[in-house]
Amino acid sequence: MVKKPEDTKIGGVKATKETQHIEGAAQVDAVSGIKETTSIGAIGQAGSRGARRPTRTMTLEEREQLFRMVNEEADKLFANSGLPKEKQDLLQNAVKMAIDSGLIDSRDEEEEDAQGEKKKPGKG
């Protein structure tokens, strides 16, 4: 569009406008490349995470108490089952072994923690 002569007329000078506060400029990050899209995974069923949450961890100190419970519960369970005594003992021992194998001495754990700290690089 061609400018007309009257469009170039200079008007009066107005007062300088007050500058406004300039907020700090945020760092401009590099523009990242476009990421590859992936397919949407299957939606899991509700409640599948943390399905089995035991109430507590057993300690070696509770070992005797747990073994006593195994004996008592086995006596109740097999009282009318017709199972021979030696088989009852077998099952009790098997359960005790399975439980015992997971019991770590909490004193051992604390000691290993302390030694682990010492063994960290830069320490002793």
Binding site: T57, M97, D108
Partner: protein
Amino acid sequence: METKEETRTLTIDEANNLVIEHQGWAESIARSVARAWNMDWQQDGLDGAAMEALIFCARRFQPSRGVPFRGYSRRRIHEASAEQARKTKGWQKAVGGGGQSQEARNISIELLSVFPELRGGQLPFMDESGGDSDSDARGAIRQLLVGASFIAAKQGISTSAPDDVMDYKRMIEVVAALESTHQMIVWKVYWEGVSLRTVAVEWETDELNVIREHKAILGYLAKQVSSTKPVPKPKVRPGLRAVALKLKKR
């Protein structure tokens, strides 16, 4: 969508430091396994198996997932130690009690597969436990005893020891009267050695449904075996009704 940063495993140096920090702890797991089965944790090679598993876990560990390293690695280290124990000559030795110690070991190692939380020093409780820890512990122990009975009966069959099987006759009779879905769970878990999670995947259902059903079965069996009066057999819970219908149609 996870980025590479979020799924990053540790560098070799970081993993090695993690191994150094937890070496003693891994050894304590190996010692626990050895103690339970009356073996020597070093002579029977459990220390080496535990270390291998520790290194394996340290190399695969992803801190960004928010799971503590010990929680992540404990079962793997226990499993490796137990597997090593089973392979060694020390496993075959029966100290006192003749062959019964060997038999008890065989049952206990299968019990660890059915109840993997035992490897982490935990009893198989459920979320809806009443809060009375003593009562919950006893309930869990009953489950373990019933589970051990199934395993023993199966081992009796597989070793062609009919006398052994007859000892568990009552247990087997009770199982034979269960709903077919429940029989299927017992068969898969105790005879085929399939985990509850695998059963859930096969049946395209939530693992929690199978776990609850398994617990209901064991609870019923414990009552039935220990009682002189008949106990009403459990019905399939709502979570597995659809599965039960599909199985019946097949």
